[in-house]
């Protein structure tokens, strides 16, 4: 009870009459300071970019499978002679696929959409600590959206030196068409994304620390909130380094500084100013972007934990080890960035230390997998659509986690670095992992967002085809040993020519994968308007968010939630139902069961 802060109380009072005053359409739905509206704005924006990123990936895959043949639809936009895709366009497409997916989809959909929507609801607050800052964090995404979209149409096209934008290729304008102007827009867009993320992360941290409902101790928080909290800390500490690096590259490009360009370079037959070091960019970039890998997976892990506990009708197995594992991943995440640089020219002795820390980061991931399995053990599993996606996440994360051990092993990384084995690995983590978790979360919290349920049958059809197709796309990449990434045409390397049938199989599967998302799009929009209406707690879940109306009004709760226990007390002997909401007062006539872990 003592954990409620003065600020939170004042906030409650100021919103006591929140339902009474009316808002104009503009302030209610467009420039809204309501965390739920902002969350849904993030959700819609990122889903649109998800579609764009997926189509970019299809174009890339098409070129890999059938090099220099006409790409359907896209060949009108990027036709070279004879309607074929030019190699410049190819480098641009995979660069933008990754940039869009990472910076405009995965990071904002996890932190922006679900972080925003869920944090206040799950901790029993009426809104974020800083609603205006929250609104700004969404609107700072728009310059990024516009800059990245516009970069396709500037002279030279969009950025084309990979989403990692390794200097000096990216920092000198004459190295590639995309480095002419597109790279500048790319850098400015990423700075805007960074500002947005930073605004979000300070808000999330403050909200989680300051605005928990009475009785909501830190160890009664749902794992989703723990993951969001630790992700926010990661963002806050890693982002300044990225922002510095982006600014330095921007200065290299616009002001003629030479942070990342060494002395004596000749680019495109022109001498360029130097004095810098290309490896500096890689260190600074990965110092952010490796923690960013965990920013892109931890919230999904948290949401998946909540979904699995709910549909296994069982308490989460090892709650505290799960929290420590998240914290462990985050802590170790700061000292493993060098594993992206084993063959970069970095001192090989440094490679050894990064190898040991990278090996160790597999440990908390393994602990989480074992605890998810432990949660399923002895449950009464309900195979709902969100549960299928959550279990799919676990199943796929096992593959993504295990394949990571290969590249942590420095000698093996010499061979597989910059090859399709890496592509397979991170797509298993980010697509088969995070995106599956995100789909699960959308199906799970959709009733809370819109007051209606998505269609279960079509949800399962969506899962079935997505699950099969994604495995057909990404698993065969593991056996394309040595095939280099980012090649517009592998035919030039004779040793890999016989991989071509596998590449064609992957592309066909990718077309199926993207097509099967149509079921989701239709289901999503149909259900917003015509889905069956649901009450407050359609899944019989324990979290506080399920005690608010569906959808919650401005100010969220129509009562002051008081928390008595953790969020995973399913099938507790204290009550007759198989769920036990966090705010339900304990019965007086039954013995109380300890929340602590058994022995």
């Amino acid at each position: 009870m003592s954990s409620i802060s003065v600020g939170s109380q004042a906030h409650d009072l100021s919103h006591a009459g929140g339902h009474a005053h009316t808002q104009s359409f503009l302030s209610k739905y467009i420039f809204s300071k309501d965390h739920k509206v902002i969350g849904i704005q993030f959700l819609f924006s990122t889903l649109i970019w998800f579609l764009i990123g997926g189509l970019l990936a299809l174009a890339v895959r098409w070129q890999i499978a059938w090099p220099w043949t006409k790409v359907p639809i896209l060949n009108h936009l990027y036709a070279a002679e004879g309607g074929q895709m030019s190699p410049e366009a190819y480098t641009m497409l995979f660069t933008m696929h990754a940039s869009v997916m990472i910076f405009l989809v995965i990071i904002p959909i996890l932190a922006g959409a679900f972080g925003n929507f869920l944090i206040p609801l799950m901790i029993g607050a009426d809104d974020m600590a800083f609603p205006t800052l929250n609104m700004l964090s969404y609107w700072f995404m728009w310059p990024a959206f516009i800059l990245l979209a516009a970069s396709f149409f500037v002279e030279g096209g969009a950025a084309s030196f990979g989403w990692t934008s390794y200097a000096p290729g990216s920092s000198n304008s004459m190295t590639a068409p995309g480095s002419l102007n597109g790279q500048t827009l790319w850098l400015m867009a990423l700075i805007c994304v960074g500002i947005s993320s930073m605004m979000g992360s300070v808000n999330y941290m403050t909200t989680i620390i300051q605005m928990r409902a009475p009785g909501m101790t830190m160890f009664r928080l749902p794992l989703t909130i723990w993951a969001m909290f630790i992700t926010a800390i990661l963002q806050a500490f890693a982002l300044p380094v990225l922002t510095a690096a982006l600014s330095m590259q921007l200065m290299d490009r616009l002001l003629g500084t030479g942070f990342f360009t060494p002395e004596g370079l000749t680019i495109n037959n022109q001498a360029v100013a130097g004095g810098g070091q290309p490896l500096l960019w890689q260190h600074l970039f990965w110092f952010y972007s490796h923690p960013a890998v965990y920013i892109m997976i931890l919230p999904a892990m948290g949401m998946v934990s909540d979904i699995i506990a709910c549909f296994a009708r069982k308490p989460i197995f090892g709650y505290k080890p799960m929290v420590y594992a998240i914290a462990g991943i985050a802590g170790l995440g700061f000292i493993v960035w060098g594993h992206h640089m084993f063959v970069s020219g970095m001192n090989p002795a440094l490679g050894m230390t990064f190898m040991v820390s990278t090996m160790m980061i597999a440990l908390p991931s393994a602990i989480k997998v074992f605890n998810w399995l432990g949660t399923l053990w002895g449950g009464k599993i309900q195979f709902t659509t969100p549960m299928l996606f959550a279990v799919g996440f676990v199943s796929m994360f096992i593959i993504g986690g295990l394949s990571g051990i290969f590249m942590a092993a420095t000698p093996i990384d010499i061979f597989i670095h910059d090859t399709y084995f890496i592509v397979a690995h991170f797509h298993y983590v980010l697509f088969a992992g995070t995106v599956m978790g995100v789909f699960g979360a959308i199906y799970f919290w959709f009733p809370k967002m819109f007051g209606r349920k998505m269609n279960e049958f079509w949800g399962k059809v969506h899962f079935f085809f997505t699950f099969i197709a994604l495995n057909c796309v990404f698993f065969p990449m593991h056996i394309l040993m040595g095939q280099p990434r980012r090649y517009a045409d592998t035919w030039h390397v004779s040793v890999f020519r016989h991989y071509q049938p596998v590449n064609e199989f992957i592309t066909i599967s990718a077309i199926v994968l993207v097509s099967s998302q149509i079921t989701f799009i239709i289901n999503f929009f149909y259900s917003i308007f015509f889905g069956p209406r649901v009450g407050r707690n359609p899944w019989h879940a324990n979290g506080l968010e399920w005690q608010a109306p569906s959808p919650p009004g401005h100010g969220n709760f129509d009562f002051q939630p008081v928390v008595y226990r953790g969020p995973y007390e399913y099938n507790s002997p204290e009550v007759d139902e198989d769920f036990y909401p966090q705010n339900q007062p304990p019965p007086k006539d039954r013995p109380l069961v300890s929340e602590e872990m058994g022995h």
């Binding site: 002679e81 590639a176 002395e263 495109n268 199943s395 030039h492 040793v495 198989d578």
Partner: protein, 302 residues
């Protein structure tokens, strides 16, 4: 439907194992290894970790399947276990993976040291580079030390994209880049090293089988990245020396402008490096697949 979904998750196990078996059977897998012990120990480590992770993969995926099958809420008559976890289990599955991972980490250190840290020696001294390889958009420029065995002198021999090395002997490459990052990659020798402008990075390997192999670029270097492929010719000592002698004769007849420029730049006493027109122009569209292995140098000399 619970049983159906359980089996779908079990299929992941079969699909995963099946894919690797398909790869091993059809040869869509590890390219032929023609390297020395270091290259073989990289393959050995890969297979060792593949077996280890394979066991964990099958174990966890089958457990997942079994729990889904056994504890399907529709058929499982027993009440759900009200358990919050187990300290004993947590300690077990922390210590066992930690020990395994630490073992893997230590087990591979020797190979890493052999591949990247123990520079090759000749007669008790650091070996002199066999060849200097310089990445440039989008070709590999080569420079052999010539008769005096020292790079950067007047008798250096130049070539492009056509690296000849003697079989069974240690080769030490001094790797540089003229413009952006490149990646010197020998798939058949399990060698990879980024070429970084401003740095001179030693790369060594010992090819054990005569033949022609690829030198693809492994680090994105621009639009022509995909066709920046050189040729590695592994041949007998006699053939290698004949190749160098031929190169010398060819080079003494005509010196291509860029080679003269490169030679001048490396000798500080000589005058200012002037910008000469290069054989290759920069960013032009190339949709057709042109083979770059025959160098502009060879054309100039004929």
């Amino acid at each position: 439907m619970g049983k159906f979904w359980s089996i779908l998750f079990l299929c992941v196990t079969f699909f995963g194992v099946g894919t690797f078996m398909f790869g091993a059977a059809t040869g869509v897998w590890l390219p032929e290894n023609v390297g020395s012990e270091t290259a073989y120990s990289i393959d050995h480590l890969f297979k060792f970790i593949l077996v280890l992770t394979g066991i964990v993969f099958i174990g966890t995926e089958v457990t997942l399947f079994y729990f889904l099958w056994r504890y399907d809420g529709k058929t499982n008559q027993q009440p759900a276990k009200f358990s919050h976890g187990s300290h004993t289990l947590e300690i077990c599955w922390t210590i066992v993976p930690a020990a395994t991972l630490l073992f893997i980490a230590i087990y591979q250190l020797n190979t890493w040291a052999a591949a990247k840290m123990r520079t090759p020696m000749a007669n008790g001294y650091d070996m002199a580079p066999t060849v200097e390889v310089t990445g440039r958009q989008f070709e590999w420029r080569l420079r052999y030390p010539g008769d005096d065995g020292i790079l950067g002198t007047k008798d250096d021999l130049f070539d492009v994209n056509d690296l000849h090395v003697p079989v069974g002997e240690e080769v030490l490459v001094s790797l540089k880049s003229m413009d952006v990052l490149h990646g010197f990659y020998l798939p058949n020798l399990r060698v990879k090293q980024d070429a970084v402008p401003g740095m001179k990075i030693p790369v060594w390997f010992r090819p054990m089988k005569e033949g022609e192999y690829d030198i693809p670029c492994s680090q994105l270097c621009g639009w022509g990245h995909y066709k920046m492929t050189g040729r590695l010719v592994v041949e007998s000592r006699a053939a290698y020396e004949k190749y160098l002698a031929d190169l010398k004769v060819r080079q003494n007849s005509v010196v291509p402008p860029w080679a003269a420029q490169q030679a001048a730049e490396s000798i500080p006493a000589q005058g200012t490096p002037e910008q000469t027109a290069s054989a290759e122009s920069g960013a032009t569209s190339a949709g057709t697949s042109s083979n770059n292995t025959t160098s502009s140098l060879a054309n100039t000399n004929r």
